[in-house]
């Protein structure tokens, strides 16, 4: 196993996505001036609105032209830009270890997260990382330094992934750890309790976080191309099943389709961006397509 950053950071992919920006769709609370909208009004050239003067307001922002016309005191408010605080939530549970192609879901997810981290750091924003399975395995604080990328990549190299993912405790923990509004990027196969997931997403959204969900699935999981007598052994569950997969394929795809629809609808309901990504898709292409569409959405907002 590679221990350096090259394992999860592919130069070709980085080169292709380096021209893209990762923008928060919602306002975020950064601590530096940046390219993301801030909930605070500050020293910006972008006029936002007028507000009636109250006691304590800085007299520098009183609009004297309005006072001359209406004999009332109004202060001018300006939009403040701030930097992004992006937290990468990487699922490193046992189910993420499955892979039929060049990369397992775990490797694909980590590469995706590393690429995003690179992107965020490149645009001077802060990025942190939380690797989790059934519990939070490691937490990397938010930093804007370029060499912070290595810390994030090392954090994702978790050995001995454990059991079934339970997302609500994780997300609740994240929400408490990062109280200021930021961008939460969840990279997982979401093979977990849906209610727990939706509860966690709801909590994050209620705390004002902008939430992105990258649903990473393997081709085998989506197509179920198996044939011949096969014994399936659960990566997270203790069950095993001996069957002819062709006989169960139809039922499997139906159950999977229902699950994906439920996840997609849940994300929409909680205003979280959702993207289903196949591990066979080139990472740069998948990421570029998503970020481009997100940029479009941002501009519409």
């Amino acid at each position: 196993m590679m221990s350096d950053s090259r394992r999860f950071l592919h130069p070709e992919a980085i080169k292709r996505i380096s021209r893209l920006d990762l923008r928060a769709r919602h306002v975020v609370e950064g601590f530096l001036t940046g390219m993301h909208r801030s909930p605070y009004f500050g020293q910006s050239v972008e006029f936002l609105q007028h507000r009636e003067y109250t006691y304590g307001d800085d007299l520098r922002y009183v609009d004297w032209k309005v006072w001359a016309k209406q004999d009332r005191y109004y202060v001018k408010q300006f939009e403040e830009d701030t930097n992004l605080r992006c937290t990468l939530l990487c699922d490193v549970s046992g189910s993420m270890q499955y892979g039929s192609g060049a990369m397992s879901k775990y490797e694909y997810g980590c590469t995706l997260a590393a690429s995003l981290a690179y992107l965020v750091l490149r645009q001077q924003d802060a990025v942190g990382c939380v690797a989790f399975d059934e519990t939070t395995r490691i937490t990397v604080p938010l930093r804007t330094k370029r060499n912070h990328l290595d810390s994030i990549i090392q954090a994702m190299e978790i050995s001995g992934p454990k059991n079934k993912t339970d997302l609500y405790p994780i997300l609740r923990n994240v929400a408490e750890t990062y109280p200021r509004r930021g961008l939460m990027v969840l990279v997982s196969d979401l093979l977990a309790d849906r209610l727990s997931l939706f509860k966690g997403l709801k909590l994050l959204r209620s705390r004002g976080h902008d939430v992105l969900v990258f649903h990473v699935m393997d081709d085998d999981e989506l197509d179920f191309p198996f044939s011949g007598p096969t014994r399936f052994e659960g990566l997270e569950l203790p069950e095993h099943l001996r069957c002819n997969p062709r006989a169960l394929r139809e039922g499997y795809l139906m159950a999977l389709g229902a699950y994906l629809e439920e996840v997609r609808r849940g994300c929409v309901r909680h205003r979280a961006d959702y993207a289903l990504i196949r591990t066979s898709e080139p990472l740069d292409a998948a990421l570029a397509a998503y970020l481009s569409s997100r940029l479009g959405m941002h501009r519409r907002n």
Binding site: S95, Q97, K105, E221, R231, R246, R249, Y252
Partner: protein, 741 residues
């Protein structure tokens, strides 16, 4: 359980368990996959468990049924009950064509080919008697096919099989023996087709029970066509071979007199030919001979190579005139019928020869008379009679003469020419010698008649042959011919001593046509024809274009002339000798003068010395002669026709009937050899001795066709079910299309 055509193949039924075994092996050989999305798999399994299990069991059952059907299809079950009759035709017609040619008398160990054939027929009959379905039975022996005057006479024709059938069949077969005919299977198949029609309304099974001799099947084009026609008519064909292998066999292929005068009191020669049908040479084969029933000294054939025929001559001498019998026998071998050959020969006291000479001193006739009947103690059996041309005036009967010689004649009466034409056309022999009196104008105009007359060529003028001073070769150059046997062989000294000085040349440009019966049998050294042979009607004509006496040549002074002239008379008078034997099965026919004989003719077949078999009333022909014939000639040997003359005296005429010697060729075809000759024919080939184990298949309805339909349905059902159960792995592209995006 119904009987099976191949019951031994039922041992294959345990392979019905093969699909289960394969299933179990596959279960053991399953692939192991660590799977993340177990949740959905378990949901699917829970939802489909019952249906999947049901489909799997159904699929397994279908596969086991398909395997069982294949096994049954190969084993060919036969239904003998009402169901069988409901499925198939209501009646099965078993047609047995039984080869009883004399090659079927082939013996080995304590059995024979015909005994094997009868055993097969008995067993078929025994099985059919137990059938519940209506069965009919036809038995036809080869020897009873299309016989003269009798037509095809099957032993049993559409006989209904009932409880007493077996007994009747045993009785019928008991009296059967191999015939002495050589009929082949083609005639039998042809006859059965004519006899029974196409038979679309019944199911037919044709059994050809034979010894499958190579001789009859080597050119099997017609047989193959006939069998294909039977196939096309939905008839089932069984070829049952009754011999295990070819056995060595000797046969007397020929017993015939050699050329020469055959009269009473004069020794003459006969020839016997022995053919070896075996694969190894045989040595010192004794041929036992009988003359008029009395044994005489036998001849021994030193060696007969395999597949070859060797001839031996032996002298014959009968002191009395009349009809005589000659029999040749071999020692016993595989086939006995062809070990004996019979012959009858009628010997006259002498052969009268009419010599007509046109010369004033009858010099030619006298020379001929001298060489044909030298007199003294030498007896040639020829009695010459010298006459002038006036003798041929049309009033005197010429039939009594064995041959007529016209020497140096100037002319003949029209009536004489006509009587000569009738004589030769009826089989008489005529010889011409030309001479000083001969005129080409008469010969060309009256005797040649543009090729329609007695004389074979148009004559030119009398021509002198220049003397060959260089002596480059003999004057006479002869072809191989019975008349010139004396000149046979290289460096024959007689030939060089014959000098021809004068002859009648043929007309310019004359040569015998390629298709005519005219042949030049002797030429002069200048290539001119000298002796010409041709046929006129049934008779023979020899024309010598020079003199008989030593006027234009010196041949009459040569000893070879004596031999040649006697051979000439023997050659011309062969009508008198006639054939010495007939073939078995051929109709014997007698033509009697109505004035001399009563119409009742009693025929005695071989072995019946006292009581004649049949009395036949002769029929008067349009020509006024009585014709009596006998068709029952299936046995070789001596037949007698006992005649009664109108004056009350009796006369016995004998006929020798012999088997076809080629039928004794016992070279047989094996199953594969037969298969190559019958390419495309659907038939079953079985050995008679092995036939007893599969005899139960012969009756009942063969449900193979229905099993085949069932198999097709099962396989289609299996494929549809397998497809429905998604056991057919789709292509990758289809898998991607079917997945979740």
């Amino acid at each position: 359980m119904p009987p099976f055509a191949h019951e031994a193949l039922l041992w294959g039924l345990p392979i019905v368990g093969l699909p289960v075994l394969i299933h179990l092996i596959n279960m053991l050989r399953h692939r192991r996959v660590e799977w993340a999305a177990m949740e959905f798999l378990l949901v699917s399994q829970k939802r489909n468990r019952t249906w999947v299990l049901f489909r799997q069991l159904l699929l397994l059952l279908l596969r086991m049924l398909a395997v069982a059907t294949v096994v049954l299809l190969v084993a060919r079950p036969l239904l003998h009950n009402r169901l069988g009759s409901l499925l198939g035709s209501t009646q099965t017609h078993h047609i047995l064509l039984l080869d009883d040619s004399f090659s079927m008398s082939d013996r080995w160990a304590d059995t024979s080919a015909f005994a094997q054939a009868k055993m097969v027929v008995n067993r078929i009959a025994a099985v059919l008697a137990q059938e519940q379905n209506p069965q009919t039975f036809t038995l036809l022996r080869f020897s009873r096919v299309t016989q003269p005057d009798r037509g095809t006479r099957p032993d049993l024709l559409k006989e209904t099989v009932d409880t007493g059938f077996t007994t009747r069949m045993v009785e019928t077969l008991r009296a059967m023996q191999p015939s002495q005919t050589g009929n082949g299977p083609a005639e039998a198949i042809e006859a059965i087709g004519q006899l029974l029609g196409d038979g679309r309304q019944e199911r037919r099974i044709v059994y050809l029970i034979s010894d499958f001799r190579a001789r009859q099947w080597d050119d099997s084009t017609d047989l193959r066509r006939q069998l294909l026609e039977l196939n096309a008519a939905d008839a089932e064909i069984h070829l049952i071979n009754c011999v295990d292998r070819a056995h060595p066999n000797l046969a007397i292929a020929l017993l015939a007199p050699t050329e020469g005068i055959r009269v009473a009191g004069v020794p003459w020669f006969m020839e016997v030919a022995v053919q070896n049908f075996g694969t190894t040479p045989v040595r010192d084969v004794p041929v036992l001979l009988e003359e008029d029933g009395h044994a005489r000294a036998s001849v021994t054939v030193a060696e007969i190579p395999p597949g070859r025929t060797v001839r031996e001559r032996f002298p014959v001498h009968f002191p009395t005139a009349g009809q005589h019998e000659i029999t040749a026998r071999l020692e016993s071998d595989a086939v006995g019928v062809d070990n004996v050959r019979y012959g009858t020969i009628h010997l006259p006291i002498d052969v009268p020869v009419l010599l007509i000479d046109g010369g004033p001193d009858a010099r030619d006739a006298r020379y001929l008379d001298m060489v044909l009947a030298p007199g003294g103690s030498i007896r040639t059996g020829i009695t010459p009679q010298i006459e002038t041309a006036a003798y041929l005036n049309g009033t005197r009967p010429l039939d009594r003469f064995g041959a007529i010689v016209l020497a140096n004649i100037e002319r003949l009466d029209i009536a004489g020419i006509e009587s000569l034409r009738q004589y030769v056309a009826a089989g008489g022999g005529l010889a011409f010698f030309l001479g000083e009196q001969s005129r080409s104008l008469f010969f060309n105009g009256t005797l040649y008649c543009d090729g329609q007359g007695l004389f074979p060529l148009p004559l030119g003028e009398a021509t002198v042959l220049p003397v060959d001073r260089l002596e480059r070769g003999p004057d006479l150059q002869v072809a191989e011919h019975g008349v010139f046997r004396v000149f046979a062989g290289k460096r024959n000294s007689f030939l060089a001593t014959v000098i021809v000085e004068q002859y009648f040349a043929a007309a310019d440009g004359w040569e015998p046509g390629p298709d005519s019966t005219t042949r030049v049998i002797a030429r002069l050294r200048n290539g001119a024809p000298l002796v010409i042979e041709h046929r006129f009607g049934k008779g023979r004509v020899l024309s010598f274009l020079t003199t008989a006496s030593p006027v234009w040549n010196n041949w009459a002074r040569n000893p070879s002339f004596v031999v040649a002239m006697q051979d000439m008379v023997a050659y011309l008078s062969q009508r008198a000798a006639g054939d010495i034997s007939h073939r078995v099965g051929a109709r014997l026919q007698l033509e009697l003068e109505a004035k001399e004989y009563q119409p009742q003719v009693r025929f005695a077949t071989p072995g019946e010395d006292v009581t004649p078999t049949a009395t036949v009333d002769a029929v008067r022909s349009p020509e006024g002669v009585l014709v009596a014939s006998l068709s029952e000639t299936d046995v070789s040997g001596m037949y007698e026709a006992r005649l009664t003359r109108t004056n009350g005296t009796t006369e016995t005429r004998r006929f020798a009937l012999n088997v076809e010697p080629e039928e004794g060729n016992l070279a047989a075809l094996s199953g594969p050899q037969l298969a190559t000759r019958l390419d495309g024919v659907d038939y079953r080939y079985e050995q008679a001795d092995a036939f007893q184990y599969s005899v139960t298949q012969l009756g009942g309805y063969d449900v193979s066709r229905w099993l085949l339909y069932l198999l097709v349905v099962l396989l289609i059902g299996e494929q549809l079910l397998a497809y429905a159960a998604s056991y057919h792995p789709p292509a990758c592209s289809r898998a991607a299309e079917g997945g979740v995006r």
